[in-house]
Symmetry: D2
Subunit: 136 residues, 4 copies
């Protein structure tokens, strides 16, 4: 394996390539017929909840232990991957560019949560900016 | 803008770069103190549900119209971006390589949903493979 | 079984009795130690998603069939019961009177969705009342 | 108001009466046309997530304070009521008796989590009973 290919297995992978992997998985199985946008949005929520279930009734210390246990760590990674699968599939099917929507949203969030006001504060922007007269 | 930079705004963006954008956003605001793994998993579920809300009580036809309306389309894209934000943040904080967990999970799913058996079928793998004697 | 007891198995059951059943189940297992309000809210979301999963990738016709199949119908009922379990447990633990919060919320919703305006319309109240100058 | 009526505003209210309140609210607005079972299940998940959002990024101590603040306490109660609204509506529309499904599920859960084994333990039944040779 060339160093370049090795990179491909990690952070250097273009997000578009991940999208294509997901699309190919679906096309090979002829599953588009079941994938209305509503059903994909359901899929995303269901997978997010399966990830969340790992944390239910566990203290932060207990979760730290579990995240060090190899089997559980793998399971949790798989659940996270399932959520990403639906993010990529939904983006592909609805024609969103993943990178663009993320940057656009970060820009909007940066206006809603200006550094000088939001730093070290866990309030929602509607509360954070209540007195500023600004709304987004 | 150079062609290279233009590419960066789209599918060619390495997934690691998206991760860094999200980490920087959080660090500038000193928000790590609020981000236990459990709270990030909650964040993911909450954002997935906000996306899902756009589809509630709407027929498929109505959603098609809404996805053509520019403002709603932007709103829905933002919700999708919020989910991705938490996927990337959680991956970064818990030390998962996004590309690796996606590929690993696709491999597992390919075993659970073999093409010859799963093609055109909307059953869960536990039902799909009920008679095959295999379990994953 | 006396007629009175028979009634108890159905709609005549006081909601407070259902609450006590749930509390007893928890107390017998000494589970309060795991039930922070946050974890109960997580439990509610996880169970709601397990119910939702039954509907993913299914057409309305397919769901009608499934809801007539006795085993699936029982499974779906159990998921619904799991959600109710957490609603009752959370109400008990946080000191909410179930009947009162439902009535209070229905009153608020009646103001947000006045019959003459909301009848046959599937808009959210923020859109429904956009031109009325009222906000709730 | 007679003592009996006063009771009706609280725990003594039959669960069937709460169901009828919800059905009436829907019928007055002619909303059944939007309420496929799938959309009601979506509604349930969305409302559960809105409740969950109140807990995101908050420590247990912070939540205790918030639950003592009258306005926030009311808001959280309303979110809990929204979840109950969909539990009751779904039960009514799909023909489930609320009290019966709760009791049936508690019986199943009692077998999955026998007191002597589950007491003070926060494991899922699939883990709890791994060595017992029993499965439910």
């Amino acid at each position: 394996m060339t160093p370049n290919m090795e990179n491909r297995g990690n952070e250097a992978t273009p997000v578009g390539e991940l999208k294509r992997l997901v699309r190919r998985f679906v096309e090979e199985r002829d599953w588009d017929q079941f994938h209305t946008p509503k059903d994909l949005a359901i899929g995303l929520s269901v997978e997010a909840a399966e990830l969340l279930e790992h944390f239910r009734f566990r203290s932060d210390e207990e979760m730290e232990d579990r995240l060090r246990d190899e089997d559980r760590r793998t399971d949790i990674g798989h659940e996270l991957a399932d959520v990403l699968y639906f993010v990529l599939l939904m983006s592909a099917n609805l024609g969103y560019d993943v990178s663009t929507i993320l940057r656009d949203k970060l820009e909007l969030s940066a206006r809603r949560y200006p550094v000088d006001r939001a730093r070290g504060v866990n309030l929602k922007y509607t509360e954070l900016n209540r007195d500023s007269g600004e709304s987004y």
